[in-house]
């Protein structure tokens, strides 16, 4: 979206309060959604719950194509359609809902840096495992991705997606990495997050921020999703404070509402 359009959208958004019928769209939960999309969707859901903004989750097979950016998830609020966590944070901010107002400039810069770390390491690793590890791609990713479509369209779309992700991996320099190296990167990322978190309840002490939502979305999904190998989850499990962090957010924001 261009800057002017973005400014216009936020102005429009500010005029209206958060409606009751806000909806979040994601792919079919049981048969279709993949690890990375589920993580991104859960991050947005966690963020909105932290803000106290009600949203109804709707599963659509064509959610990816409905999204204005082609990414999962997106929210439909009033007449607005906004996709991905970053723009959604901006959007809620324009409506007067924010989690990071109490942070000073240095903390805000730090938060942005850690969010980038999650995008660059965890999300990229998830995509790598899904589409570049042949066993996972063949047993899980391609069958799930193609499940809403009939033959041969499903096959075509799945291979198209795989090719696209692999090209992106090559572009960011992950093309030549082995699976072991990727697991190692995940470990390092978790190490950094674990150190930053320390013994605090949230990354910036008492106040949950969008960073907490993002980390929760990814770690919780990695921990609870069954893949061909449990290695990815094992790497995360070795950081006990991250585990209790996930449990804490789940209990605080998702318990007795169901995720």
């Amino acid at each position: 979206m261009s800057l002017a359009a973005e400014a216009f959208v936020s102005q429009m958004a500010a005029a209206e309060p958060w409606p009751e019928n806000a909806t979040l769209y994601q792919p079919l939960k049981d048969d279709q959604i993949l690890l990375s999309d589920h993580a991104s969707s859960l991050a947005v859901q966690a963020y909105l719950r932290m803000c106290g903004l009600p949203v109804q989750v709707v599963c659509r097979a064509n959610a990816e194509y409905m999204s204005p950016s082609g990414k999962i998830p997106f929210i439909h609020v009033g007449n607005q359609v906004v996709s991905e966590l970053g723009p959604i944070v901006q959007f809620t901010k324009a409506k007067g809902h924010t989690l990071s107002d109490s942070l000073d400039d240095v903390q805000r810069a730090e938060m942005k840096a850690y969010m980038e770390l999650v995008y660059n390491m965890l999300l990229t690793a998830e995509l790598y495992v899904q589409w570049c590890d042949d066993a996972t791609a063949a047993e899980i990713s391609r069958p799930r991705y193609s499940s809403p479509y009939s033959w041969p369209l499903g096959k075509i779309l799945a291979y198209q997606k795989q090719w696209e992700v692999r090209r992106k991996m090559n572009a960011v320099g992950w093309g030549g990495k082995s699976l072991e190296q990727v697991y190692e990167d995940v470990s390092q990322c978790c190490q950094a997050l674990s150190q930053r978190l320390g013994t605090q309840p949230y990354f910036f002490n008492k106040q949950a921020t969008e960073l907490d939502a993002l980390v929760f979305g990814h770690l919780f999904t990695i921990l609870t999703t069954r893949l061909t190998s449990t290695e990815l989850a094992e790497r995360v499990k070795s950081y006990s404070n991250l585990l209790s962090f996930c449990r804490r957010i789940e209990q605080t924001y998702f318990e007795d509402k169901g995720s």
């Binding site: 979206m1 359009a5 659509r60 097979a61 064509n62 990816e64 194509y65 409905m66 204005p68 439909h76 007449n79 359609v81 809403p148 479509y149 009939s150 033959w151 369209l153 075509i156 779309l157």
Partner: protein, 469 residues
């Protein structure tokens, strides 16, 4: 007996089936009446030999079907008539640039005194012909490159490739056509294509990649077409401002459908006919041969023309269609019907009536449209007998309706729904006929019965197209 040349006959345009058969529009040139007609007519002759000169790639067995009738002739007039018919048949194959007929007395040892030799002197089309066009329309400019291989394997098979490179979209198509030797109307064709279109009235962009196989044959007075088509359709919203209803339609679908079309056409021309009628019935069943789209679609088109005094023609048409979803899925926006615009209900903007969401038209599952035209020559008939004959003035009255059906209501409610809130319009304008393929219209329209949400075009409206209500 001297040599009779039949080359004064007008050459026929080369055309393939994809341009539509217009042979009926060309008045069959009358055989010139010679003063000695009686003498020749009564004289018995035998066609001993038929030669075809100038063949290169073309296989002779194909042509033997086309010229077989010439041998049956038993007098000179008959020979000329049958030779002329054979010449027309040869030209219709679309593989010869020129066909000339020479009829001469038989020469040689076994020549009978009343024996005739008929020679067809043909010039084959080049192995490969190309064309290059530029097109402007729908806020888009494009370059169209066409390649045609007439007569690829020597039996009037045709391979065509068309590539269109536009400022926004790229499309291409490859098609192979094969007629049955001796029965040109019985033919099969196979197509592979990718077509991308932008439809601003729905804020939607559609990319179709498909293959189809088609069988065409005549049956009694009709032309029948059976077709299987498999299309991978990709829909996306056109820009960020598209309504949410359009967003919900975005994504991929696979349609595999069997369709049948029947056409009876007794009109003397497909554009601005003076007499005759047209009946077209088309039905499509999707979902039983695979794919994830299931529906039954029926539509028809009727046109009747009647000549009145002072070269004026009264023309009435009626269109209608119904789309029934099969199973619990709703119909896809790409399958629904659209109505309105200078080629259907004039006075309304292109496809801008009926169900809509935030200004994006979603199409309807059922529609009907009727039109009544009175075509007259231009006032005072300027350019009569030449350029002026390409023009007509017309007065028109169009009416129609388009809506969705709630299938719980029963047929009575459906009919009532179609009969209420009828959109209609009237006006007058000038029609220009472009060859036998298309026509242009400039009309002054007065739309009536406008419903909220419809977009109208009150006043002058320009239209170009192939199919008109």
């Amino acid at each position: 007996m001297g040599t009779v040349h039949a080359r004064s006959l007008d050459p026929l345009p080369m055309h393939g089936p994809e341009l539509g058969v217009q042979a009926d529009d060309i008045e069959a040139p009358e055989i010139e009446q010679e003063p000695k007609q009686e003498v020749l007519e009564n004289k018995d002759v035998v066609v001993q030999r038929v030669h075809i000169d100038g063949l290169g790639r073309t296989k002779e067995d194909l042509l033997s079907y086309e010229i077989a009738e010439v041998f049956r002739a038993n007098n000179l007039i008959d020979v000329m008539r049958r030779s002329h018919e054979a010449r027309q048949k040869l030209l219709r194959l679309g593989i010869f640039r020129k066909v000339e007929v020479v009829i001469d007395t038989s020469q040689g040892e076994d020549a009978l005194p009343n024996g005739l030799d008929v020679t067809f002197e043909v010039t084959e089309l080049r192995r490969l012909t190309g064309s290059y066009n530029t097109m402007v329309g729908n806020n888009e400019g494009s370059m169209v490159l066409g390649l045609k291989l007439p007569n690829v394997f020597g039996r009037a098979e045709k391979l065509t490739f068309q590539f269109s490179y536009g400022t926004k979209e790229t499309s291409y198509g490859l098609s192979f056509f094969k007629p049955q030797p001796g029965h040109f109307e019985r033919n099969v064709s196979v197509n592979v294509y990718k077509v991308t279109g932008q439809f601003p009235w729905s804020s939607i962009r559609e990319t179709d990649r498909g293959i189809s196989a088609e069988l065409g044959f005549p049956l009694w007075k009709t032309n029948q077409t059976l077709k299987w088509e498999g299309v991978w359709r990709e829909l996306g919203s056109l820009g960020q401002t598209a309504s949410f209803a359009i967003r919900e339609e975005s994504g991929h679908s696979l349609k595999s459908s069997l369709s049948h079309a029947m056409v009876i056409d007794s009109r003397n021309s497909s554009i601005l006919p003076r007499k005759g009628g047209l009946l077209k019935i088309h039905q499509e069943l999707a979902g039983y041969t695979g794919g994830d789209t299931s529906f039954l679609k029926e539509d028809f088109e009727i046109q009747l023309n009647k000549s009145l005094i002072w070269d004026s023609v009264l023309s009435a048409s009626l269109w209608g269609g119904l789309l029934l979803p099969i199973g619990d899925k709703t119909t896809c926006i790409a399958d629904r019907f659209y109505l309105g615009g200078p080629t259907s209900i004039r006075g309304f903007s292109m496809y801008s009536m009926g169900p809509q969401s935030d200004g994006d038209y979603l199409g309807g599952e059922v529609y009907w449209a009727g039109g009544l035209h009175l075509y007259t020559p231009l006032p005072f008939r300027p350019g009569r007998g030449g350029f002026g004959d390409l023009f007509r003035t017309h007065f028109f009255l169009n009416a129609g309706n388009l809506c969705n059906l709630n299938y719980g209501e029963g047929p009575q409610a459906h009919l009532k729904k179609l009969a209420e809130c009828i959109r209609w319009s009237y006006g007058l304008g000038i029609v220009l006929r472009l060859g036998n393929i298309a026509r242009l219209e400039l009309n002054y329209c007065i739309p009536m019965g406008v419903q909220s949400g419809d977009r109208i075009c009150d006043g002058f409206q320009f239209g170009a197209g192939i199919r008109f209500l």
